[in-house]
């Protein structure tokens, strides 16, 4: 094995790797959404082109899935706040 990379190069490679990983994660999300929304929106035999409704179903599907995930997070947070407020009322002197 040749010499090790110098510190600057190691740093650069680290940053590069991180960027690639971010991109891979992004790509993975797009894959997941595509599969999920395909199953929901494309029910018949695939045609020579998408119908307008299939196309809008696909993009609505992505948007609503993201809305759903925001909704879930917000709701859990609200419940946690409510719980905290309640327990603070009980236990503080």
């Amino acid at each position: 094995m040749a010499d090790k990379f110098d510190e600057a190069t190691q740093k650069e490679l680290g940053a590069f790797l991180e960027k690639q990983q971010t991109e891979a994660r992004l790509h993975q999300s797009i894959h997941t959404f595509t599969g999920m929304c395909w199953d929901k929106c494309i029910t018949g035999t695939p045609g020579a082109r998408f119908s307008r409704s299939e196309e809008s179903c696909l993009s609505n599907c992505v948007e609503r899935f993201l809305d759903t995930s925001l909704f879930m997070v917000r709701r859990i947070e609200e419940q946690r706040h409510a719980l905290e407020a309640a327990s603070n009322g009980k236990f503080t002197e």
Binding site: Q20, H27, Q28, S29, F33, G35, P46, L58
Partner: protein
């Protein structure tokens, strides 16, 4: 995954760096392509091959070809929608900070 380190010429640090970066890029691209191919196969087999016979019939092949095109199109629609949503949310976050 570690094989590429051995095949790298050891002349200069810069060229070794390039080689590592290219190997990583290739790895990422390959894995993305594999994921996509697996999901296309699965979906299109389900959509187009209802009753598997002794060979793929020509109507099944037509369906598979269309399905593959549509799946890639769907992937692009999803990507566009997701990216524009991401950039919209990023802008809103910035507006909230300021």
């Amino acid at each position: 995954m570690t094989d590429f380190l051995k095949s790298v010429p050891t002349d200069s640090m810069a060229s070794r760096k390039e080689a590592v970066m290219n190997a990583i890029k290739q790895e990422v691209a390959l894995s993305a392509a594999q994921t996509l191919m697996n999901s296309v196969n699965e979906r299109c087999f389900k959509a187009c091959v209802q009753k598997p016979g002794t060979s793929l019939g020509s109507s099944e092949q037509t369906c598979l070809a269309r399905c593959q095109d549509r799946y890639l199109e769907a992937f692009n629609i999803v990507r566009k929608t997701y990216m524009s949503r991401l950039s919209k949310e990023r802008m809103e976050d910035q507006a909230n900070v300021i």
